[in-house]
């Protein structure tokens, strides 16, 4: 039977704990980590709380981030937090960035569906992230039936990344419909592809490695809505070299995060 190998470091870029059973973020995280342990996943990047909010108010952003902070209190040895920000509320978002990243334990920024990534309102947020060498994760989809009004396409991320060529930006889900997503970001070396949260379609990882290079491809699951297993299966089943597989499973993410981890004195 196929199993995950212990000599591979697996870091998961894309996790949520909010929908799991449990009265507190700590208990929800305990459940998430239990499943992660079975799959040999060492570290989880977590963001957003419960419930998912498309257009959170400043107070709701703060509450969402408080849930993540609460989870990190007991799970900082297994999880990294990304602060949930909204370009609909730039000043409040910059304050949240300072609270949670500059002066707090979080190490990245999560942007979801409040406003498209091509909007100029994202610029001060990306600049703030750059000042701390924090990763910027932008959700994207390219839905056949059409996106939400503020939901980014990979082409929106491409516009943002072109304006900020030194910022490490992750194209969340690689657009879901990944063939279009990969093509949209391939000319931008500062953009990496997140493998999470889509059906485990055969060929996704191979195309990403072929067009972007393995150093720009990152494993993530979108657990708990998705299975760790189905998403790990994309990487484990891909026709790629073992060296590329290691990069995708954890080494790329570790490399991207090391500047902010070192800056914050977070030891692995």
């Amino acid at each position: 039977m196929l199993v995950t190998r212990r000599d591979r470091m697996i870091w998961d870029l894309h996790c949520h704990f909010g929908a799991l059973a449990g009265n507190t973020p700590d208990l929800k995280m305990e459940k998430l980590v239990r499943f992660a342990d079975r799959m040999g996943i060492e570290r989880l990047c977590i963001y957003m709380g419960h419930p998912f909010l498309n257009e959170p108010t400043p107070a709701q952003l703060r509450d969402q981030n408080d849930q993540v902070l609460q989870a990190l209190r007991h799970w900082s040895h297994r999880a990294f937090g990304f602060v949930y920000l909204s370009p609909q509320h730039v000043e409040a978002s910059l304050a949240e960035f300072d609270r949670c990243v500059r002066n707090g334990p979080m190490v990245g920024v999560k942007l979801w569906v409040a406003k498209r990534a091509s909007a100029r309102e994202l610029d001060p947020i990306v600049e703030a992230a750059g000042s701390m060498k924090a990763i910027v994760f932008q959700h994207t989809w390219h839905k056949t039936g059409g996106n939400l009004p503020g939901e980014s396409e990979p082409t929106d991320v491409a516009e943002l990344a072109a304006r900020h060529p030194k910022a490490p930006i992750i194209c969340g889900h690689t657009g879901g419909e990944w063939e279009t997503g990969i093509r949209a970001i391939r000319h931008l070396p500062n953009v990496s592809a997140d493998l999470a949260g889509s059906d485990p379609c055969n060929g996704f990882v191979e195309m990403a490695v072929r067009e972007l290079g393995a150093a720009r491809v990152i494993y993530g699951s979108d657990a708990s809505g998705r299975s760790f297993a189905s998403q790990l299966g994309k990487v484990m089943g891909a026709d790629i070299s073992e060296a590329d597989r290691k990069l995708i499973l954890g080494e790329n993410l570790r490399r991207m995060m090391m500047p902010i981890l070192e800056r914050k004195g977070i030891r692995l």
């Binding site: 989809w141 056949t144 055969n202 809505g225 299975s227 189905s230 299966g233 484990m236 891909a238």
Partner: protein, 253 residues
């Protein structure tokens, strides 16, 4: 292991790595699969399903005799489907058929569907009913296929009890009591498109281990996630043996 959900033939919008039948067989064998039940992508899209099924039978015999078991496509909304069913059974010696109602344009409430179930039961054929093929959000814009409504299935199965029915590629529906009620009728489920952390374990609680089958939906999907789901849900021992092999063997008898 028996993988009850693989396919051969070209997919119209993408070339999958290893999608030639010989490559598919080699990949599955490398992962420990001893037998795979193969449908045909052509059977989803071609109007001449008779020819698609003949090619499926030849591909299975050529690339994986005794390993790939062909499951032909039958469309009860098309004229001549009874002849297709007869050929699947009598000419190609297939153990079962695979249905794609939402691609073929009928519902599970249509009398033709019930009639097909009845005819398959008389021939002791396994009927695989694919609820989905891919996420609706990623379908090619030239081929948008609405999700199949599974709610009439309970009535259909009650009308044709003892039909050997396998639901493939269940995503979110049926769920809850509707799912449990279907499981009580004796039908089977694969978990190729089951999601959520520990999702297969949760599904197993609802339908029992005796009604679950290993299905990968290869080569459309990577095979590896199917086995990893077993590991994620810590399914071992007798339950694993039933899901990976025993239940499928029982269906074939």
């Amino acid at each position: 292991m028996i993988d009850v959900s693989v396919s051969v033939g070209p997919w119209p919008f993408r070339c999958f790595p290893g999608d030639k039948p010989a490559d598919l067989v080699a990949r599955l064998k490398r992962r420990g699969v001893k037998q795979a039940w193969a449908g045909t992508f052509e059977g989803i899209f071609h109007r001449d399903t008779s020819a698609a099924n003949a090619r499926l039978a030849r591909a299975c015999a050529t690339a994986g005799a005794g390993f790939l078991l062909p499951f032909g496509s039958v469309n009860p909304a098309a004229p001549g489907w009874k002849e297709d069913l007869r050929r699947c059974h009598e000419v190609h010696r297939m153990p079962g058929i695979r249905l794609h109602p939402n691609y073929h344009g009928y519902t599970l409430a249509d009398t033709a569907f019930t009639e097909l179930l009845r005819a398959a039961r008389e021939r002791k054929l396994i009927v695989q009913l694919a609820l989905n093929v891919e996420d609706e959000r990623t379908q090619h814009p030239l081929m948008r296929i609405p999700p199949l409504d599974p709610s009439p299935l309970g009535h259909a199965v009650a009308t044709v009890p003892d039909v050997k029915l396998v639901l493939l590629n269940r995503m979110r529906a049926p769920a809850g009591e509707a799912l449990a009620a279907l499981a009580r009728t004796g039908i089977y489920f694969d978990f190729a498109m089951t999601e959520g952390v520990g999702g297969v374990g949760e599904l197993m609680k609802q339908v029992t281990p005796q009604r679950l089958l290993l299905g990968s939906h290869s080569p459309f999907q990577y095979f590896d996630g199917a086995l990893l789901k077993m590991k994620e849900s810590a399914i071992t021992g007798d339950d694993a043996a039933a899901i990976l092999m025993g239940n499928a063997q029982r269906l074939l008898r």
